[in-house]
Symmetry: C5
Subunit: 143 residues, 5 copies
């Protein structure tokens, strides 16, 4: 399996490096990486990883800022990633860590690492169990 990793220079954490470290623990995975300026550059970067560098799945890693306009950028990027998936029939794992989700730089780095590391295991999880990535799980509703 060939896994694409797309991240940004805008991010304050080297999310691509964290993802690749984790992916390398899984033996037989080939990795293709690309770094773009910001999250709005991720959709086409992912499409090129899929179509030109033959990735079977892609991780799109970004860290939107905490302002209103940053949330709009994230929205635009997400819509582009969904469209990219529909055009290629290929899953893209979107890992966006919003700057305002953490109270300082250390927590932000920790959160980015948690989310990025957790994602390669997603497919083996169980349905309907209230998984929350990087925070305590919500758990199933009928406890």
């Amino acid at each position: 399996m060939r896994v694409g990793v797309a991240d940004t220079t805008f991010s304050r954490v080297n999310m691509g490096a964290i993802a690749i470290d984790e992916l390398k623990k899984h033996a037989s995975v080939a990795i293709e990486r690309v770094t773009v300026p910001g999250i709005k550059d991720l959709p086409v970067a992912c499409k090129k990883l899929i179509e030109e560098r033959r990735c079977d799945i892609v991780m799109a890693l970004g860290m939107p800022g905490g302002q209103e306009k940053d949330r709009l950028c994230a929205h635009e990027a997400s819509q582009g990633l969904i469209m990219c998936q529909l055009m290629t029939n290929t899953h893209i794992i979107e890992v966006f860590v919003h700057e305002d989700e953490a109270k300082d730089g250390r927590e932000l780095a920790w959160l980015a690492e948690q989310r990025t590391v957790l994602h390669p295991r997603d497919l083996e999880r169980e349905a309907g169990t209230g998984q929350r990535q990087g925070f305590a799980d919500a758990g199933p509703a009928r406890r």
Copy 2:
């Protein structure tokens, strides 16, 4: 008929299992299931169920969280599901149960079950009768 069922690990109710239990009561239906992390992963999952696993119709089951950003995710997912349907000429039944529609876990579980169970019956309903899924119907306007 082959029915696809796509649900999420983020959901706190096993909506996929509920849907499949209900579908099995209808005799001649083959079922294909896939579970993805969150609702934004549903559009491409549905497209693959339609194009790669030859489903004639798909149920997209999700439980968005109660925060503002969760509502935006649901909006992005819905737009992706509409685009997927236009690209494939295939109906996708979207069953989203928002966490903030219920006052506790028990009601949430009940609501999710109501809506998921009701949808396989969608095709038999009558037009213009004010159906509301999981709550009392609004009824026709000219009573």
Copy 3:
């Protein structure tokens, strides 16, 4: 000419029946009808009417609820209808009557009937005359 009529079970007025009654007054029109659960199901329903049942034009009839989330649904449906038209080079006449446009059930039924009935005549109207469907016209600006 073959006219498609798509309406919803969510609507509290049988808009499809009203539209068909009106269309039948025009002699040489063949009609294809489909009823779907809600307005977000209309885009693909219209696409299938155009491509699979060979309609030359389609009426998409819906009655969004009065809550904020209903307005978002209507927005998503409208975008899907616009995309559907671009994909098929075929006009879709969107007739959405919002529940909160009328003060009670009778006015709602009246409004739905006005709008649905008016639409088949749209193409013969004059440009720039401030037409408002179901309410008093605004009239031209330079009176």
Copy 4:
């Protein structure tokens, strides 16, 4: 060159007629006109002007109302016009005059005329000079 002109019956000013008067002053231009009910009907109308009536460029003329829901309609129409341009590699000149931009009917008519007349001259303008259509220009930033 063949220029398409698409306008609406919803508009309170006959924008199509104004545009055509202006275009006819430029000698060798063939004109194709279509009038649709509202601005959300413009995207497919423009696509048909381009693909079925072979226009090289199209003017999309509309006058959205002053309410919140009218602004949403204009947003949906604009997105459709952008998508139409991407699908056809053809420029569409969007001239939308919002009812709430003018204080009365006379100013509205004047503003619509100003904008519609100005657009056929767009292509000859200079870059980076702060052009504002129908109002005093903002001018370059470094005066």
Copy 5:
């Protein structure tokens, strides 16, 4: 390499000229330029630069106004630019400078120049270092 430069007459700074000056410092680059009225005209302009004038990458330069409706225009333009990239598998570098990001015309001109000049250097940057274009960098999170 052939670089496309698309800018607008609406902008109060000649962003296209600044970009071309900077690009010319990089020796072996061919440049194609087009100027359109406003930012919503940029998506199709970029698509034509890519498909008809064979550009390998495009810079889309714009200066949205400071009002709410201008932010909506920028959002629509951004979505169109993302779609254009997905349709062409080609990167578009979006450089939008919002009028309300600067306190006067001089700062606006300076900011536009900073951002436009920085972008040709984008490709050489490092990932995860918190780059902020035209303002002090945020820096990496774990200092």
